[in-house]
């Protein structure tokens, strides 16, 4: 009974939050609703007994949305309402219908072909965290490593992009803000 109550409560909350995210014209409302929705999703993992994934969902998405807040802070006055530019309405309509159809197809496809079988049954007497680790380092080792390499590439490119005159402290310098390297001087 508690599971059912929790499921419907959090389903309602999650959908409400994401609805607010897409409909509001307030950047702060949108971001907050997004963060709340992401955190409410973790409740489903907890209900299903996947505690580790639930906690990771909270940790990862609270940090990720925090970065979005930082962008929001830089680009908007978050206490004012934004006027969105509305493009061609037919394109918007067409794309949203297409997206809805795709979602239905994705969820319906396994049901049609009867492909849902548990390939990796639960190991007896092993916790949730160890279970995730085992699957991650056996069946999904290659995607896991590829994801790691992608993150490494992203990190290195980020450092390269931001690394100009990194050894000069912008806080301590009393001159003008740091410019691009001056004309005629090669670094």
């Amino acid at each position: 009974m508690f599971e059912a109550i929790a499921f419907y409560l959090f389903a309602f909350l999650t959908i409400t939050m994401f609805y607010i995210t897409v409909t509001t014209s307030q950047a702060l409302h949108a971001l907050t609703a997004l963060a709340a929705g992401m955190i409410f999703i973790s409740a489903f993992f907890f209900i299903l007994g996947a505690d580790f994934l639930g906690a990771v969902q909270i940790v990862v998405y609270s940090g990720a949305v925090m970065a979005l807040y930082a962008f929001g802070m830089m680009f908007f006055d978050t206490t004012r309402e934004l006027k969105e530019k509305q493009g061609n309405k037919y394109i918007i309509f067409g794309l949203s219908v297409l997206a809805a159809v795709l979602v239905v197809l994705i969820f319906a496809a396994p049901m049609v072909s009867d492909n849902i079988t548990a390939l990796y049954p639960m190991t007896e007497g092993v916790g949730n965290t160890q279970e995730v680790g085992m699957v991650l380092f056996t069946k999904y080792l290659v995607p896991f490593e590829v994801a790691a390499i992608m993150l490494l590439v992203a990190m290195i490119s980020g450092i390269v992009l931001a690394s100009k005159q990194m050894d000069v402290s912008q806080t301590l310098s009393k001159d003008e803000p740091i410019q691009e390297s001056k004309k005629g001087v090669t670094s």
């Binding site: 409302h29 970065a67 807040y69 978050t78 206490t79 949730n128 965290t129």
Partner: protein, 330 residues
């Protein structure tokens, strides 16, 4: 679902809420007295014996003050932000074993609300969400200083979260579990983690301790609400009990992190005897005292210094520490 279990859980939740809300209030009294002692002042003296009733006076003031919502703020978010700080602090407490299990009238009580097997990850995650309070309060306030404090909050969050996560990896590898009760049981057999594995545990302990100061926003890293630079940061526009909720959240977080550090590194409540329980409370008292001690003894760092410390010093040390731990354990 047994009725007894349900009643027990509700009672535990209520007790923890009451005890730690009260402790948060008394914590402010301790803080004033200890700071005053270290700075050769008297601290609160006038209200009640030794100023003990100062806490009650502050409470009356906060509860009866007018709740002002300024004109230009984003009202729903502005009202919600303090609640996030206070509630997440108490949510994190659900996975902390406060005492060893004991018997009362023949009924065994486990002083932990939910013994989930990912305890420490859950606690750190929820405490991280707690920083949304200052962030949202700052961004919704329509005030320059509040916005500055929100920006600092985001920077601190992204920096220290990495160090906290990496520093506890080595102890987790030793124990092989994320539950704080398993941590405690491991330390009964193998000694305190802080002395384990040729100093690896000690380095992890120091890193986690430093990160705890950033997590709770205490003095060396008090830059989110630095009185002498940005007024009260995110709290500038708040008044009355909404501001008080931020305060309760901060102090409750200090108490909870003071419980987590000994449970992770310093043997926790030991073998479950009365002595072990008292030892745990003593360790908690020491760590709470240390929070106040640093406030009297150290200056604040600048935001860029905190970032430098987190990314260029602590994170490499943490990663090397994990590598060494892995090599030794293989």
């Amino acid at each position: 679902m047994e009725v007894a279990y349900l009643i027990e859980t509700v009672i535990k939740v209520v007790v923890i809420l009451l005890v730690f809300s009260a402790l948060a209030g008394i914590g402010t009294y301790f803080e004033r007295k200890i700071l005053a002692f270290m700075q050769r002042r008297l601290g609160p003296m006038n209200v009640g014996p030794f100023g003990l009733l100062q806490v009650a006076a502050d409470g009356i003031k906060l509860f009866t003050k007018e709740d002002i919502i300024p004109t230009n703020v984003v009202a729903p978010i502005f009202k919600m932000a303090p609640v996030i700080t206070a509630s997440t602090a108490f949510m994190a407490a659900a996975a902390i074993p406060f005492l060893p299990e004991f018997e009362i009238f023949g009924y065994t009580v486990h002083p932990i609300v939910a013994d989930i097997n990912i305890g420490i990850l859950y606690i750190l995650g929820i405490m991280g969400v707690g920083l949304y309070g200052p962030l949202l309060g700052g961004m919704a306030s329509a005030n320059k200083f509040a916005l500055l404090s929100a920006a600092r909050g985001a920077a601190v969050f992204i920096s220290y979260e990495v160090v906290t996560g990496l520093s506890i990896l080595a102890p987790i590898m030793m124990v092989g579990s994320l539950s704080l009760i398993d941590f405690n049981n491991y330390q009964i057999e193998n000694g305190w983690i802080v002395f384990n594995l040729y100093g690896v545990g000690f380095v992890a302990f120091i890193l986690f301790w430093i990160a705890a100061f950033a997590e709770t926003g205490r003095t060396p890293f008090h830059l989110i609400a630095n009185d002498h630079e940005i007024i009260d940061g995110f709290g500038t526009e708040y008044s009355g009990m909404r501001w008080g909720l931020f305060f309760i959240g901060e102090y409750a977080n200090m108490f909870f992190i003071s419980f987590v550090i000994p449970l992770l590194f310093l043997g926790g409540y030991g073998d479950g005897s009365l002595l072990g329980a008292l030892a745990l409370l003593g360790k908690v008292a020491f760590f709470f005292f240390f929070f106040l001690w640093t406030r009297a003894a150290w200056p604040d760092v600048r935001p860029d210094q905190l970032m430098w410390l987190c990314w260029k010093v602590l994170m490499p040390i943490a990663v090397v520490n994990i590598l060494i731990a892995a090599i030794i354990m293989i």
